[in-house]
C-alpha cells in the first residue's frame, strides 16, 4: 500500500473538521503511515468470495406502536447548549459574508 503524504493528512483533517497545527501534521503523517501499512494486511486474506460482516447481530428494523412516550423537554434539550436563544440553539453564521 502507498504511504500517506503530509498533504493527504491535511486533506483528511479538513474532511474531519479538525483544525490541526503544522506540528501535528508532521506527527500524524508519520504515525498514520505506520498504522495504515500495518493494518493493510487485512487484504492478504480478504478474497472476493467472502461476504462482508458489518454487524455481529443481523440488524432488522424495529417497529413499535405510534404512541407518545415521555421524552426530553425543550429546557432539558437546551441545557448543555454552548449558546441558546429564544428556546433554540444559537449557532455561528452558516452562510458566507455576502449572504
Amino acid at each position: 500500500m502507498p504511504s500517506i503524504s503530509r498533504d493527504e493528512v491535511a486533506h483528511l483533517a479538513k474532511l474531519a473538521r479538525l483544525a490541526v497545527t503544522e506540528d501535528e501534521l508532521d506527527l500524524f503523517a508519520g504515525q498514520l503511515d505506520v498504522i495504515l501499512q500495518s493494518v493493510a494486511s487485512v487484504g492478504d486474506i480478504a478474497t472476493a468470495d467472502i461476504p462482508p460482516t458489518s454487524h455481529a447481530v443481523p440488524l432488522t428494523n424495529v417497529f413499535r406502536e405510534d404512541v407518545v412516550r415521555p421524552s426530553l423537554g425543550q429546557q432539558q434539550a437546551l441545557s448543555g447548549a454552548p449558546e441558546a436563544e429564544d428556546g433554540r440553539f444559537r449557532v455561528p453564521r452558516i452562510l458566507g459574508e455576502e449572504a
Partner: protein
Amino acid sequence: MTNDLIHATAAELAAKIHSGEISSVEVTQAHLDRIAETDAKVHAFLHVDTEGALAQARKVDEAVKAGEQVSSLAGVPLALKDVMTTEGVPTTVGSKILEGWIPPYDATVTRKLKEAGVVILGKTNMDEFAMGSSTENSAYGPTHNPWDLDRIPGGSGGGSSAALAALQAPLAIGTDTGGSIRQPGAVTGTVGVKPTYGGVSRYGLVAFSSSLDQAGPCARTVLDAALLHEIIAGYDHMDSTSINAPVPPVVAAAREGLSGDLSGLRVGVVTQFSGDGYQQGVARSFEAAVSQLKELGAEIADVSCPSFDYALPAYYLIAPSECSSNLARFDAMRYGLRVGDDGTRSTEEVMSLTREAGFGPEVKRRIMIGTYALSSGYYDAYYGSAQKVRTLITQDFAKAFEKFDVLISPTTPTTAFKIGERANDPMAMYKADLCTIPANLAGTPAMSVPSGLSDEDGMPVGLQIMAPALQDHRMYRVAAAYEAARGAFGGPSL
C-alpha cells in the same frame, strides 16, 4: 470495621445490609473514606458523588428497615465508568470536549443500577472516548495501577479496574469495544466480563464504535460480576441492537461453578495466542491455569483459529471507521465545548477549532484513519477487507465451538507496562488488545479472571474465557470453578 467493609465482596456486603447487620450508609461511607485516602495516588475517579451516593444508601437502609423486598445488590457501592450518562452528574468520557457537561438523562445501565438500589459512588477515569489500553489518553491525567503506581491500570476502563483493586469499590461498570473491560481486569487482578453483544443496552453509552461497544460488569470475584451482570442485562427498546432474549442464567452458573466440578467440559486453547510477544510470566501463569482446569475435570486440547491473526488489523480499521462517523456529533452546536465563536467565524470554522481543541491526539488519529478507510478509492482495500476478516473470525469461532464448550487464552500478552512506555508508539499500544479483539468482532461473550501473579514481576495476569453468543453462563461456571481452585493471590498495598 472499615477495613472489613472495604475487603468484603459485594455478595457479603449485600447479605449483611439486607439482614440489617450493617447499614448501606456505613458501607458507602467506608468506601468514600477509602477513595479520599487513596485516590490522590491512584486517580481512579474523575468525579465522586458523595451526596448522591449517601442519599441512595439512606433510601436502601429505609427500605430494609421497612421490610421491603430489595434487589440482590441493593445498598452495595459501585464505580461507574465515565462513558455512561448520569442525569445531573458530570459525564466527560475522559475528554475535554465534554468537560462540565451535565447530561439531562440516565443511560439504561445507570437507570437499572439506580432502580436496583446500587449505590453509585462516582465516575471513573478512562482513555478519551474509550480509545486506548492504558488510561493515559484521558484528558484528565492517567490512572495508576494500585499494584505498582508506576504502571498502567489497563484501558480504556483503567479507572474502574483500579478502583476495584484499590478497594475503593467492590463493583464497577466498564465498556468493552476491543478489550476495555478484560485487559484492565487482567492487569489489575480483577474480574471483567464482556457480555454477548446486544446483551446489555447501549442507550446512554457515549458511542465509540457502535457495532463493537458492549457494557459489562467488573468485580473482584466471579459471583459478584454475575450478580451485577444480571442487574444491568436485558432487552431495551431504546437500543435497536439490543437482543430480545432472556438474560443468560449467569448467577446460577457462577454458584454451580463454585462446586469445583468441570467433568466433561471441553476447553479449547487458542494456539494463535502464544509464542513470540508473550511474556514468560504470562505464559507460565496460563500453563498453570490449564493444569488446574484439567484437575477440575476439563478436557483440554489445542484449537487453531487462523483468522485471529488478522483481528487486530481488522479492528483498527472497523473501530476508527465507526468512530469517525460517531464522533461527528461533537460539532460545538448542541452540547459540549465551543471554541473560537467571536462573531466573525463561520459554523464550519468554529466546528474545526472546537474539535481541534477538544479532542486529544489518539482520538484525532483514529478519526483520520477512519476517514481515510471510508474514503472512495480506499474503501474496498481497507474497510471492505476488514469486514470480510470479520466474517472469517466469526466462522473460526463457530467451527471451534463445534468441538469445544469454551475457548481460553491469556487475556493480554504482557502484564501492566510502565506509564509512558508505549505512549508515543500507537502500534505497540494497540497490541495490548491482541487476544481480546476477536470476541468483539464476532459479538461473542468473553471474560478475564485473574490467574495469579507473574513470577517475573509480581504483577497480575488474566485468564480469558470465551463462549458462544448468549452462552455467557458457560464462562461464569468455568471462571467460578477455576477461581475457587486457584485460591487467593494477595492484593496491592497502598
